[in-house]
């Protein structure tokens, strides 16, 4: 089926598994934040696609626009949830990795050297105790 450019764009909105290759447009004058600028650019992009896609017949135009709007509205909750879920998962993974990284650093840089130092001291103490015991025989062997 030969879809119009806007119909293809609307269909692809629900596909958040495609290529993540991005294109950088610009430069442009924009006092807004990155997210806002991207939103405004997409508003413009959709409107330009509409110029090339909306049928000339007014009633057909209303039908097509209503269908696309309805398709976009039905896509939004799924995508919003997917975004929330993926960001939460990523953030929790980053948090776990950070916490574990601290734990690993604490173990490697503090606990292991302390344990090795303790073991060295224990061995020296044991050698000294054995030497002292060797100088004083057991009662039964006197």
């Amino acid at each position: 089926m030969n879809l119009s450019p806007l119909a293809r764009f609307v269909r692809d909105l629900g596909r958040a598994t495609g290529a993540a290759e991005t294109a950088v447009l610009g430069p442009a004058e924009a006092p807004e934040t990155d997210g806002r600028v991207r939103f405004l650019a997409y508003v413009g992009l959709v409107d330009l696609l509409a110029d090339a896609s909306v049928p000339n017949d007014p009633e057909a135009a209303v039908r097509a626009l209503s269908e696309w709007l309805s398709a976009v509205r039905s896509t939004e909750p799924t995508l919003r949830f997917a975004l929330f879920e993926r960001s939460s998962l990523t953030e929790s993974r980053e948090l776990v990795a950070r916490m574990r990284g601290r734990d690993i650093a604490l173990t490697s840089e503090w606990m292991l050297p302390r344990l090795r130092q303790d073991i060295e001291a224990y061995r020296a103490r044991i050698a000294a105790l054995r030497a002292a015991l060797a100088r004083v025989p057991e009662e039964g062997r006197r």
């Binding site: 993540a20 430069p27 004058e29 413009g44 409107d47 995508l79 574990r100 292991l112 057991e138």
Partner: protein, 178 residues
């Protein structure tokens, strides 16, 4: 402020394919100009059927542009965030393996060795007292409060699929015998 805008390359390709008349080198300014013009207009969520058809088309186009743009930004964030998600997954896996190696293969032998040596010191000190020697006069002494307390340490038991299977078999054997 001069800025650049990042969008999905596939979206840019659809636009340039549909609008060969659009100048790709000045696309950012064109999109922003169009976008601002639409967003600055007051939004009408309702599109009553008794409105003149041209007005209905205008309202629908504005609504569609805003809504589709909002969804497109979500999709951009999901797809562009995939790189970060992969890095987070890798960091989580790597730190898990490092942590497991430390807690399974490196720390337990040292703690068990320290525990055994501490017990041996106590036995030897007891023996010294029994023979009339004051162990506190034997050097080097241990500064116990400054050592790591490992006397109650037990090696952690890590379950494997095989160990879980064997435990299940033992459980059912006991149950069947009873």
């Amino acid at each position: 402020m001069t800025t650049s805008i990042e969008i999905l390359a596939s979206d840019r390709a659809i636009l340039l394919g549909a609008r060969p008349d659009v100048d790709g080198s000045d696309l950012a300014s064109l999109l922003l100009e169009r976008g601002r013009a639409i967003v600055e207009r007051s939004i009408e969520e309702r599109v009553p059927e008794d409105l003149p058809v041209e007005e209905r088309i205008g309202r629908l186009r504005d609504l569609l542009a805003r809504k589709a743009a909002s969804v497109a930004v979500h999709r951009f964030e999901i797809l562009a965030g995939r790189e970060r998600a992969l890095r987070a997954e890798e960091a989580e896996r790597t730190t898990y393996e490092q942590h497991l190696e430390l807690e399974k293969d490196v720390v337990p032998p040292l703690k068990l060795e320290a525990k055994a040596l501490r017990a041996e010191i106590r036995t030897l000190e007891e023996e010294a007292r029994r023979r009339g020697i004051d162990p506190d006069r034997i050097e080097p002494r241990i500064d116990w409060p400054n050592t790591l307390a490992v006397d109650a340490y037990e090696r952690p038991q890590y379950e494997t699929n095989e160990s879980r299977r064997q435990a299940a078999v033992r459980f059912f054997r006991r149950t069947l015998r009873a």
